[in-house]
């Protein structure tokens, strides 16, 4: 299976996302922000970093990149899309996911090993986890506070679209301890923590993040 990994100017975790895709048993394909071309991939990862320096708002400039037009169209057709950290911010700015990510409540960049509960396994990216399992993966961001109108949050909670929740401390003040959410069809998932940095216990706090990249293998018809 081919999984695309997008690089914008300022993307930082693309190499790591590609490594995670490879370790999960899929073939990573580099996608360039300026090319309106998904190169035949069956799923897309929008990785973390500071695209365009996050200068206007996190993800605000990247969402207009030519490749994003293709991603939005493909997502609407049901292609699995995963947004990690800055990628999550881009997906929100692009309207593929609701809400916005604002400056952490503590006003500092926060990098820590974070426990998450997997709240929903019926998505393209969480099928390999057990419902309710707790995993430890790094969180690292400046603008990670998930925010949405009350009605949007109620809708997300009501429809079971909160995919990951912070456990044992909320690092950024996200409403409802929300760490990650999905689209109505469960094909587009965004989360602030970095599963690609938890793929082996040597360079990460655990290998718990690998399950996300494994999940997508089973989510598209072979």
């Amino acid at each position: 299976m081919k999984v695309g990994v997008i690089t914008f100017p300022g993307t930082l975790d693309d190499v790591d996302a590609a490594r995670a895709v490879r370790l999960a048993g899929a073939e990573p394909v580099a996608l360039w922000h300026g090319d309106a071309d998904l190169r035949g991939v069956e799923a897309v990862v929008v990785p973390g970093g500071f695209s365009y320096g996050d200068y206007l708002r996190a993800g605000a400039i990247a969402r207009f990149a030519p490749v994003m037009g293709e991603v939005v169209a493909a997502a609407r057709r049901g292609m699995p899309v995963l947004g990690i950290c800055n990628g999550f911010q881009v997906l929100c700015e692009a309207g593929l996911l609701p809400g916005a990510l604002l400056r952490n409540a503590g006003l500092h960049f926060v990098c820590r090993d974070q426990t998450l509960r997997v709240e929903r396994t019926s998505t393209a990216w969480t099928g390999s986890y057990e419902q309710g399992v707790e995993i430890v993966i790094p969180v690292k961001n400046m603008d990670g506070r998930f925010t949405a109108s009350k009605s949007t949050v109620d809708e997300l909670e009501g429809e079971g679209r909160v995919v990951f929740r912070y456990v044992g401390g909320n690092p950024n003040g996200s409403v409802g301890d929300i760490a990650g959410i999905c689209s109505t069809d469960g094909r587009v998932v965004g989360l602030m923590p970095h599963p690609e940095h938890a793929v082996d216990a040597l360079t990460g706090p655990s290998a718990d993040g690998l399950g996300i990249f494994r999940s997508v293998l089973g989510s598209v018809p072979a």
């Binding site: 100017p9 975790d13 190499v15 790591d16 970093g49 320096g53 996050d54 926060v110 793929v199 040597l202």
Partner: protein
């Protein structure tokens, strides 16, 4: 408040004009040049310098760029480095950064630099651009930057100004490094009142490349093009040179009226990230003959150094430089320290390909000149020559001073006033309270408030970062080959004995690297001192250099580079002499790293090394009595070396070295890092000394029971003293025999509460 711009043309002081107006009064003193230095410039040129030339010489001959006070002492590094030590060195002192062969065809380059003064003026941007600058140094060697570290020093933790400076510096280091995508794998945070008004912000970067990709900064090949790329050049960081544009000097021909420009620069880490990727693609495609980063002294430095190190001359059309401000003079353009710029020498046939790569990354690139067959650096401005100099006289043949050196008069009194008479805690309860008080003291408390603001995961190669003794990164994913680095310095030890104190800094950094399981191979340094015009400071400096060089010779590892920062003082009071020493180690497979901590329940705790009653300059004397006096702990580098060999021999499940705060602090940290308790018996007959002495060459190791006999036999054989202290327990308590139990939650509250309470 705002710069006003000249309407119309800028007054330009050309070479012709300089020749015809020999008697013009030039403000060389305001630019920091001495009378004899100015006279020498006139002698070199055979005329008065132009504004632009004066700007170039004044920055390049500054202490910071020319090392004029330190050169005669730094030469000692060369004389003490043997051929054997040099064997693995691909580039050494004199290059942008030292380069070491780490095996399997990999070369690693690393360097520390100071950005102290700018960080006091504007903590966020000062620290941010400090990181940016050192990263470009590493990039200019042809390497991919892999990680950064930040040795920091501030005034007293509770001083109001520290509350201004520290959060800004930490946010700046993080803001730049995080956005750039380099993991922060370690550093230091030290508080001492002597740094009040003069914080130290040192930044280290380490990078790697294939051996054959090493790029050195030189411009060779007549006809090759000089290309400036990256950010536009603006009025930031011009500082002193703005006097050249003042009305008094530029006279009636239209001074720009710019009086005092802010000498701070604002960093753009996004631009730097793009610049890194762009440079690496250029290197990979073989499009670069020589390359130089633009740091302090901007284009003055880059053009003169490239030309000076090459085999020809250079012609630069300064009017081609892309500007961000209007009305800039040639002197200002040459002196601007605008960040995120690089200068490359490129074969004419490669220029188009070079430009295409830059365009792909949206990096502005401009051909500003070419390498010539002469031996002059000639710079023109709209067709008129504004600089015509022998480049070596600017870049490499600056003034050299033999400053007076004098052991300070108060040194004997300081050494005589040892800590022996200080009241000590006695009895179980007092000792217990002292352990907690020490753990919560600003210099020993958890650094988490700082390090949580740094991304330590990006690039996916970080094997050890804070709170480990050394940072470690994987260089080669296929083989697991990696490097470990630690930076250390205890300025109090250096104050008491600069020679031994610097060796103690070396010993600690060496030990921290060894404790991670790596083999120490090379040393860098950042020598932060007071004014070189103070003979006492020069004595400290001379002793420190000698101590470091002799220590390196004893350890058999070379100094591959470094940085000198003088004039760190507030009024007449110098900072504690602070020669930060960075040691680089190599590990064949990072999977064999030794984690920092206690190991698993059941492991046996063994203390390596000997504990003597050594409390001069200790953290205990500082915390309990605000005392500094006596002698620092004895140095035993041969033992450090054997200790490192024993640790590499295997059998160790976890380790943590002993340094500031002694065994007490090591036990507290090891328990809290592993989240496990232990039960130990103190060595010797004085529990206070056992807990708080800072004798060097000591490490706490956790050894699985099955390995114990083999491990201790190897220690005995290597003549490393060892002593069984106790065992790791599955409990939540630190139990020290004879002292009431210390539950981990209580220790954690003490250790982790301090910095958040101080800084929010």
């Amino acid at each position: 408040m705002t710069a006003t711009h000249t309407p119309g043309a800028v007054h330009v002081d050309t070479v012709d004009h300089a020749v015809s107006t020999p008697e013009v009064n030039q403000p060389y003193r305001e630019l920091g040049l001495k009378d004899d230095e100015y006279a020498r410039i006139r002698e070199i040129l055979g005329r008065r310098p132009t504004d632009a030339e004066l700007a170039m010489y004044s920055v390049m001959w500054s202490e910071h760029c020319s090392y004029k006070s330190s050169k005669v002492h730094l030469a000692y590094f060369g004389t003490t480095t043997t051929e054997e030590m040099r064997a693995g060195m691909l580039a050494g002192i004199g290059e942008n950064a030292g380069v070491v062969d780490i095996g399997d065809g990999w070369a690693v380059t690393f360097k520390v630099e100071s950005h102290n003064h700018p960080s006091y003026v504007e903590p966020y941007q000062g620290a941010a651009t400090g990181v940016g600058g050192i990263v470009r140094d590493i990039l200019a060697m042809g390497a991919r930057p892999l990680a950064v570290m930040d040795p920091l020093r501030f005034g007293a933790a509770d001083a109001p100004d520290t509350r201004r400076v520290l959060p800004g510096v930490v946010a700046g280091v993080g803001g730049y490094g995080n956005c750039l995508g380099l993991p922060n794998i370690g550093g230091e945070v030290v508080f001492d009142p002597s740094y009040q008004g003069n914080p130290l912000v040192n930044a280290l970067c380490v990078g790697a490349m294939r051996v054959e990709d090493l790029h050195l900064a030189h411009a060779s090949g007549t006809g090759n093009k000089v290309i400036l790329f990256g950010a536009r050049t603006g009025l930031d960081g011009i500082g002193g040179v703005s006097v050249l544009a003042s009305d008094t000097f530029a006279g009636d021909e239209g001074g720009t009226g710019r009086k005092k420009l802010p000498s701070v620069q604002v960093g753009d880490p996004f631009m730097e990230k793009v610049l890194i990727e762009c440079c690496l693609e250029l290197f990979g495609a073989g499009l670069v003959v020589g390359i130089q980063d633009l740091g302090g002294a901007g284009l003055s430095c880059a053009t003169s150094e490239l030309a000076s190190a090459g085999d020809g001359g250079m012609l630069v059309n300064l009017d081609r430089v892309p500007l961000r401000a209007t009305g800039m003079t040639p002197a200002e353009i040459l002196s601007s320290e605008s960040q995120e710029r690089m200068c490359a020498v490129v074969r004419p046939s490669d220029v188009d390909a070079f430009m295409r790569v830059c365009a792909k990354w949206d990096v502005i690139a401009t051909e500003i000149g070419e390498v010539t067959d002469g031996d002059r650096l000639v710079i023109t401005w709209h067709g008129q020559t504004v600089v015509d100099v022998p480049p070596r006289t600017v870049a490499h043949e600056g003034p050299v001073y033999q400053r007076p050196v004098q052991r300070p008069a108060d040194q004997d009194a300081l050494v005589a006033a040892g800590p022996e008479q200080l009241p000590r805690p006695s009895g179980p309860d007092e000792l217990r309270a002292e352990i907690l008080r020490m753990a919560a003291s600003p210099n020993l408390a958890s650094r988490r408030w700082v390090t949580e603001q740094y991304d330590r995961y990006v690039r996916g190669g970080t094997v050890l970062a804070q709170p480990s003794d050394a940072g470690m990164i994987r260089v080669d994913e296929a083989t697991g080959r990696g490097v470990a680095i630690s930076c250390d310095c205890n300025g109090r030890f250096v104050r008491l004995d600069p020679y031994a104190g610097t060796q103690l800094a070396l010993a600690e950094a060496y030990r921290n690297v060894a404790v991670s399981g790596a083999r120490p191979v090379a040393v860098t340094n950042c020598l932060n001192f007071g004014s070189p015009e103070d003979p006492g400071v020069m004595w400290q400096f001379e002793q420190a250099v000698r101590g470091l060089a002799d220590g390196c010779a004893e350890l058999g590892i070379p100094v591959t580079g470094g940085n000198v920062s003088f004039y760190n003082q507030t009024g007449a009071t110098a900072i504690l002499p602070t020669p930060v020493v960075g040691v680089l180690g190599v590990i064949d497979d990072v999977a064999a790293r030794i984690p920092t901590g206690l190991g698993a329940p059941g492991d046996v705790l063994v203390l390596l090394g000997a504990t003597e009653p050594e409390l001069g300059g200790s953290e205990w004397a500082h915390v309990a009595h605000g005392h500094l006096g006596g002698r620092p702990p004895a140095v035993d580098l041969r033992r450090e070396r054997r200790l490192a060999e024993v640790l590499r021999g295997g059998g160790v499940a976890a380790a943590h070295d002993l340094s500031d705060g002694g065994l007490a602090q090591t036990l507290v940290e090891a328990c809290l890092l592993s989240g496990t308790g232990c039960r130990v018996t103190l060595p010797g007959d004085d529990p206070f000394v056992a807990l708080f002495s800072e004798s060097s060459a000591r490490v706490l190791v956790a050894v699985p029971p099955a390995e114990l006999d083999g491990f201790t036999a190897r220690c005995t054989e290597a003549d490393v003293p060892w002593r069984r202290l106790g065992t790791v327990g599955a409990t939540d308590v630190l139990e020290i025999e004879g002292i009431p139990a210390l539950p981990l939650p209580e220790l954690r509250t003490a250790w982790e509460g301090t910095l958040p309470a101080l800084f929010g």
